[in-house]
C-alpha cells in the first residue's frame, strides 16, 4: 500500500482551516490550526500529534478532500508517538490477526461483510436481508483494520488491508455490502487516499437497507417512535452515507429528534478515549452525550456502530432510554421480533 496522498498546497491555500478549528479536542483556532497542519505535513512535531483523540471528525471537516486525520495518524507513527499504552496496542493488534477461524455463508457475487463484528451474526436475519443472505463473510480475514487509526498505526492497516481485499477477490466477490462504516470507509476513503485499488464495488448497508425497505414497503408498520441517533467516528469517512439514516427513519415511521450532538456535531462514544487512558475525558464525553440524548426526549437511541452501542447502551438503559441497532429497528418495523 502506497503513500498517503496529502496535498500540502491545499492547506497553504486554505482559508477556512476547518479541520482543527472545528475539532472539539485540540482546540486550535484559525491560522494557528492551519500552521499546525502545515507543520505536520512537513514532518515537524506538533502538539496535535499528542492531543488528537482520534475522533475522525476532521476527515469530514476538511471540505477540500485533504486527509488531515490520516496524516496525523501517519506522522504519529513515524515519530513514535504512542497514544495508547503499549499493552493495549498489542492486544488490539493481536485481536485483528487472522487465525483461520473466519466464517463464510453461501457466497454469491454480492455479499454482506460482517467484518469482525460478532453481533452481526445475530442481528442480520429476516426479510431485510432475504435477497442476499446467506451470502456473508465474517472474521479477521475480512476485517478492514481501519480501527488501528485509533492506535496511530497506519502501518498495520497498510499491511493487512490489501490482504483483506484479496481475500474478498479470491472468493469471487464483486459487490461487498459493508455493515460497518469503518469497512466502507476503508474501501471508499482510506484505500484511495493511500493509492490502492479496490477490486470490488463497496456498498454501504444504509444504501442496501433503503432499497430493501422500498421493496418491502407493503410490509412496513410505521413504528411511530422518537429516536435519537449516535453517529460513530468512522461515519466521518463517508458523510453522504450518514445522511441516509434520516431517509431510513422516514421510511419506517420513526421521528429523529433534534439534539446537540447531531450530524457534523456528533460526539465520540468515549470508549476509545478510555483506551487511551483518558478516564476523565471519557467520562465527560459519555455523560454529556447521554444527558443530551435523555434531554432530547427520545424513547430509543439508535446505533449504527456496534461498538458505540456496547459503550453507551447499558448506560442509556439506566437512564430509561432503549438502545437499538438500526438493523434491529428496521426489522422491528417489518414486524419481526428483535
Amino acid at each position: 500500500m502506497g503513500e498517503l496522498r496529502f496535498n500540502e498546497n491545499l492547506c497553504l491555500n486554505c482559508t477556512t482551516f476547518d479541520c482543527l478549528k472545528k475539532c472539539k479536542f485540540v482546540k486550535l483556532n484559525g491560522a494557528k490550526g492551519n500552521l499546525e497542519m502545515l507543520k505536520i505535513a512537513r514532518g515537524e512535531d506538533s502538539t496535535v500529534l499528542r492531543t488528537c483523540i482520534t475522533c475522525y471528525a476532521c476527515e469530514e471537516y476538511c471540505e477540500k478532500g485533504n486527509h488531515p486525520f490520516y496524516l496525523i495518524s501517519e506522522k504519529r507513527e513515524e515519530k513514535g508517538i504512542d497514544i495508547v499504552p503499549r499493552p493495549i496496542l498489542k492486544q488490539w493488534i493481536n485481536l485483528g490477526e487472522p487465525v483461520g477461524r473466519y466464517k463464510v455463508g453461501e457466497l454469491r457475487e454480492k455479499t454482506l461483510s460482517f467484518g469482525f463484528v460478532p453481533e452481526f451474526l445475530q442481528w442480520v436475519k429476516g426479510k431485510l436481508f432475504e435477497d442476499v443472505m446467506p451470502s456473508y463473510v465474517f472474521g479477521q480475514e475480512f476485517f478492514c483494520n481501519v480501527a488501528y487509526l485509533h492506535f496511530g498505526r497506519t502501518s498495520v492497516i497498510k499491511q493487512r488491508l490489501p490482504i483483506v481485499m484479496d481475500n474478498f477477490s479470491k472468493l469471487g466477490i464483486k459487490e461487498v455490502i459493508c455493515l460497518h462504516d469503518e469497512c466502507y470507509g476503508a474501501f471508499t476513503s482510506l484505500a484511495p487516499a493511500f493509492g490502492i485499488e479496490v477490486p470490488f464495488k463497496p456498498i454501504h448497508y444504509y444504501e442496501y437497507i433503503l432499497k430493501r425497505l422500498e421493496q418491502l414497503k407493503d410490509k412496513i408498520r410505521p413504528l411511530n417512535i422518537k429516536v435519537a441517533y449516535q453517529r460513530p467516528c468512522s461515519s466521518r469517512l463517508s458523510p453522504p452515507m450518514h445522511y441516509l439514516a434520516r431517509e431510513i427513519f422516514t421510511s419506517i415511521g420513526v421521528e429523529l429528534v433534534d439534539r446537540v450532538y447531531q450530524d457534523e456535531n456528533a460526539l465520540c462514544c468515549g470508549e476509545v478515549v478510555r483506551l487511551q487512558g483518558l478516564y476523565d475525558l471519557a467520562e465527560e464525553l459519555q455523560r454529556e452525550n447521554i444527558e443530551d440524548i435523555v434531554k432530547s426526549g427520545a424513547e430509543y437511541c439508535v446505533f449504527n456502530c456496534p461498538y458505540c452501542y456496547a459503550a453507551l447502551g447499558h448506560k442509556l438503559i439506566k437512564k430509561g432510554v432503549k438502545p437499538i441497532h438500526i438493523i434491529e429497528l428496521c426489522r422491528m418495523a417489518l414486524g419481526e421480533e428483535v
Binding site: P85, I88, K90, N94, V99, R274, Y279, A310
Partner: protein, 461 residues
C-alpha cells in the same frame, strides 16, 4: 476387602451408603489431576457425626486407612486413597445448621458444598456472602479450608482458612473436639481468640489429624453491585508495583491475574482483574475512579492500561465461581488439568511467568497462569496450570515432568506449596525448619498413633 468390615460399615451407615463395587471404587480412586490412581476398598457415606465417630473407631480397631473426601477436586491427589482402606464421602452431611446474620457467621456440616451455601445465602440472606473459590460448586467448604483455599474475599480478608469461625472435629481416636469460641460458648464467632488457637491442628493437614464434621465460617457484606476493571501490562516487572498501588486504595474486593498465549487477544500481556463492589452506582463509580487514578502513572508511561471489558464479556469474569477456569481444564479435551499453586511473594511474578513459559515450550504443553492476591498483597497464589488430554499418555507424562520442575523452582524462589502433592509434601519436609518438623511429628504421632488418617499425606514418621 473384608466382608466383616463391609458388614460393620453397613451396620453404621446403612446398606445404601456403603459400596465395594469395583466400578464405584474406580471413580473414588482418582481425581482429574496427574496423580496415579489407587482404589479404596470401601466407600461409605455417613449421615452424621456419630456415624463418622463409629467409622473412625472401626478403622482404628482394624488398622485400616480412612480418607475423608469432599468433591475430590483439589486436583493434587490429596483424597486419593493411596493405601486403600475406607473413603468417607462427606456428601450427605451437607446441612446448613445456623446463620447468625448480625454476627455474620454460618455453621455448616462438613460435607456442605460451596454451591449449596452460595444458593442458600442468595435466597435467605441476600446481604451476606462467603469467600467463594473458583472451584466447581460441588467443592466442599470444609475441604477448602482444610487445604487453605482462597476465594473471592481472600484479597480483603485472607485465606479461606483464616475465615473459619469454629469447628467440630472427629479426632483419629473417634472422640469429638470443638475448636474455637464454640468450645465454651453457644456462639461460633471465632476459631481461636481469645483462647489458645488450636485450629492449626487441623487446617492444612489434609484430614490427617481429624475429620471436620461441623464448621463455622465468617460471612461478609454482599453489596448489590459488583464490577471489574482489567488492567493489562506486558511488563511483568511492574506487576507487584501495580498490585501495591491497587491494594493501597482499600477499595478492591478480589484481585486475580491471568496470562495465557491463546486466544491471541491475551498473548504477551498479564491481565490484572480488579473487582469492586457497591450498593449504589455512585459508590461503584467512586471506587472505579479511585482505582483508575491509582494506576494513572502506569498509563502515562504507556506501560499499562485498562482494557475495554465490553458488557457482553463481563458475565464471564463476574461469574462466581468463574467457569473459564474449568473451560481451560478441557482445552485439550479429555479433561486433564492440574496446577501447582504455590503461595509466594507478589514480586516473584516475573520469575514465575518466565518459568511457566520455559516449561510450556520445553514440554510442548498448553499453559495458563493464574494468580490470586491474598490479604492486601501479603502474598499471592500463583498457579502454574497445564491442560492435557488424559487419554494421551505421552502428554500426561510431559505434564508430570513439567510439574516436577515447577516444584523444584518453587522452593528456589522461596515459595511454599499450596495443596502439595505427596512429592511436594516430601520436598517441604526436606526443607522445613528442624524444630518445626519435630513439633509437627509430635502432633501427628500423638493425634494419630496408628497412622490411619489419610496416610501417605504429611508422612512425618
Amino acid at each position: 476387602m473384608k466382608e466383616s468390615i463391609k458388614s460393620a460399615l453397613i451396620e453404621i451407615a446403612g446398606e445404601e451408603y456403603v459400596s465395594t463395587f469395583e466400578e464405584e471404587l474406580y471413580f473414588y480412586g482418582r481425581d482429574p489431576g496427574l496423580s496415579f490412581p489407587s482404589n479404596p476398598h470401601y466407600v461409605v457415606l455417613p449421615e452424621n457425626t456419630e456415624e463418622i465417630q463409629q467409622i473412625v473407631r472401626l478403622a482404628n480397631k482394624e488398622g485400616i486407612p480412612i480418607v475423608p473426601l469432599g468433591a475430590g477436586l483439589s486436583l493434587t491427589g490429596l483424597a486419593i486413597p493411596r493405601r486403600g482402606g475406607i473413603v468417607i464421602d462427606m456428601k450427605r452431611m451437607d446441612r446448613i445448621l445456623e446463620v447468625n446474620e448480625k454476627a455474620r457467621f454460618v455453621i455448616v456440616e462438613g460435607g456442605t458444598s460451596q454451591g449449596k451455601l452460595q444458593a442458600y445465602l442468595e435466597k435467605h440472606y441476600p446481604r451476606l456472602r462467603h469467600s467463594i473459590p473458583d472451584a466447581p460448586p460441588t467443592a466442599t467448604i470444609a475441604a477448602n479450608v482444610v487445604i487453605h483455599g482462597q476465594g473471592r474475599l481472600s484479597q480483603q480478608y485472607g485465606f479461606n482458612s483464616d475465615l473459619v469461625a469454629g469447628m467440630e472435629v472427629v479426632l483419629p481416636s473417634g472422640e469429638i473436639c470443638k475448636v474455637g469460641s464454640c468450645a465454651v460458648s453457644p456462639y461460633w464467632f471465632s476459631k481461636g481468640p481469645p483462647l489458645p488457637d488450636i485450629s492449626g491442628l487441623f487446617l492444612g493437614w489434609f484430614g490427617t489429624t481429624g475429620i471436620i464434621t461441623k464448621l463455622a465460617i465468617k460471612l461478609y457484606p454482599r453489596k448489590k453491585m459488583r464490577d471489574l476493571e482489567i488492567f493489562v501490562t506486558d511488563n511483568e516487572n511492574l506487576i507487584s508495583d501495580i498490585i501495591y498501588e491497587v491494594t493501597h486504595t482499600e477499595m478492591v474486593e478480589d484481585i486475580t491475574i491471568f496470562a495465557q498465549p491463546w486466544p491471541l487477544f491475551f498473548k504477551d500481556n498479564s491481565h490484572i482483574c480488579i473487582y469492586f463492589t457497591g450498593d449504589t452506582e455512585e459508590e461503584l463509580e467512586f471506587k472505579r475512579r479511585v482505582i483508575w487514578k491509582a494506576l494513572e502513572k502506569f498509563i502515562e508511561s504507556k506501560e499499562g492500561g485498562f482494557m475495554w471489558v465490553q458488557p457482553s464479556m463481563k458475565p464471564t469474569f463476574l461469574d462466581m465461581p468463574q467457569r473459564s477456569v474449568a473451560r481451560f481444564a478441557d482445552v485439550k479435551r479429555g479433561g486433564g488439568f492440574e496446577y501447582s499453586g504455590p503461595i509466594l511473594l507478589v514480586e516473584k511474578y516475573p520469575e514465575c511467568m518466565r518459568k511457566l513459559r520455559e516449561l510450556s515450550t520445553k514440554y510442548n504443553l498448553a499453559y495458563s497462569a493464574m494468580a490470586r492476591i491474598i490479604d492486601t498483597a501479603h502474598c499471592m497464589m500463583f498457579a502454574f496450570a497445564f491442560a492435557f488430554n488424559r487419554a494421551d499418555e505421552d502428554m500426561v507424562e510431559r505434564a508430570r515432568r513439567a510439574m516436577a520442575e515447577v516444584s523444584k523452582f518453587i522452593i528456589e524462589v522461596g515459595g511454599v506449596f499450596w495443596k502439595p502433592t505427596v512429592e511436594e509434601q516430601k520436598l517441604t519436609i526436606e526443607h522445613i525448619d528442624s524444630g518445626t518438623l519435630k513439633l509437627l511429628k509430635m502432633i501427628k504421632n500423638h493425634l494419630d498413633p496408628n497412622n490411619i488418617m489419610n496416610p501417605s499425606n504429611w508422612e512425618l514418621r
